[in-house]
Assembly symmetry: C2
């Protein structure tokens, strides 16, 4: 599902950027649903991994279980030091914040990147993040949600997810006008 | 910000559908952040109101405070009976579910609607919802988030939010490449 980011072939005109996500300031003690939703949205909209700061092994295990059923190779990577992740990233670091430049304005530049790291903070964002980011980008200048910001940014960068299930999926949905249909593979891959 | 939905003028070619959101199965006892994020994303991406089932006056008050600062006329409407909201809605009822038809497939039909009610459930969705909805629509067929589903569906229906602050905003962001800039109006409107 993820677009390869290595190799030195001539540039494909419509290659989609490979996107990773960094969540800064997760609070493992509190209700983990919001960060779980960030992780699931990142996966569903085509990111290849979520760096999670601070690490939360339980959350990572829950997402790994989702990947086991639904396929693909999305992973949650523990990040003790978020600055290190940002500094060592080889690509555009895009801090999603309502204070930044409008997404539609920055989008043409972002689409030329081969690799993008979307960064979302929690309630308190470390001020250095504004400085360390390549771009500070607003998905609208109104308060909303890091889940929404990640999903919409990914959708604008990579398009709506297609119908095809990721590689290795054991569970697959067959789209229905009414009701639910899941096909479950008998054996694991 | 919301597009008017009344009047009998000849159809404007590019009129955006007016969108409302219904959240079914909110759990006021648990951490309210997810539903708060649904409400904020609905507002930020151009919905005019959120019907909240079951009602949660505290959450409604928090969102009203956001509207007081940031403007517009978004409101949280208590919904004791979600079926009544669905049945009495005059427009297309779009249940967002990973089991439904792909959004890109249904989108051309939705864009012709004047009014749309996006419906998102919680962990357990009442089976009748699949039957009562005009469309069951998947924003991707992978598990993710009702926050992401609402945001991306709205963004596809109405586009990315613009730079202009909603009417009556007391707080306004001035987009910045680095850092934060808010202008606070001295007097309320």
């Amino acid at each position: 599902m993820a677009t390869g980011s290595s190799g030195s072939k001539p540039k494909a005109r419509n290659r989609l950027p490979a996107v990773e996500v960094l969540r800064v300031g997760h609070r493992p003690g509190r209700d983990p649903r919001l960060t779980t939703h960030v992780a699931l949205a990142a996966r569903a909209f085509g990111a290849s991994r979520l760096f999670l700061h601070p690490p939360d092994p339980e959350l990572a295990a829950r997402i790994a279980a989702v990947v086991g059923r639904w396929g693909g190779d999305f992973e949650v990577v523990p990040a003790d030091d978020w600055k290190k992740v940002v500094r060592s990233f080889e690509g555009a670091v895009v801090h999603l914040t309502m204070y930044g430049e409008g997404l539609s304005r920055v989008l043409p530049r972002l689409r030329r990147s081969r690799r993008i790291l979307l960064v979302v903070g929690g309630a308190k964002v470390p001020p250095e993040l504004y400085r360390l980011a390549t771009y500070n980008v607003a998905v609208g200048h109104q308060p909303h949600s890091e889940v929404a910001a990640v999903a919409v940014a990914l959708e604008r960068l990579r398009g709506l997810p297609g119908r095809r299930a990721p590689r290795g999926a054991r569970w697959q949905i067959v789209p229905q006008a009414r009701g639910k249909k899941i096909v479950v593979a008998k054996a694991a891959r």
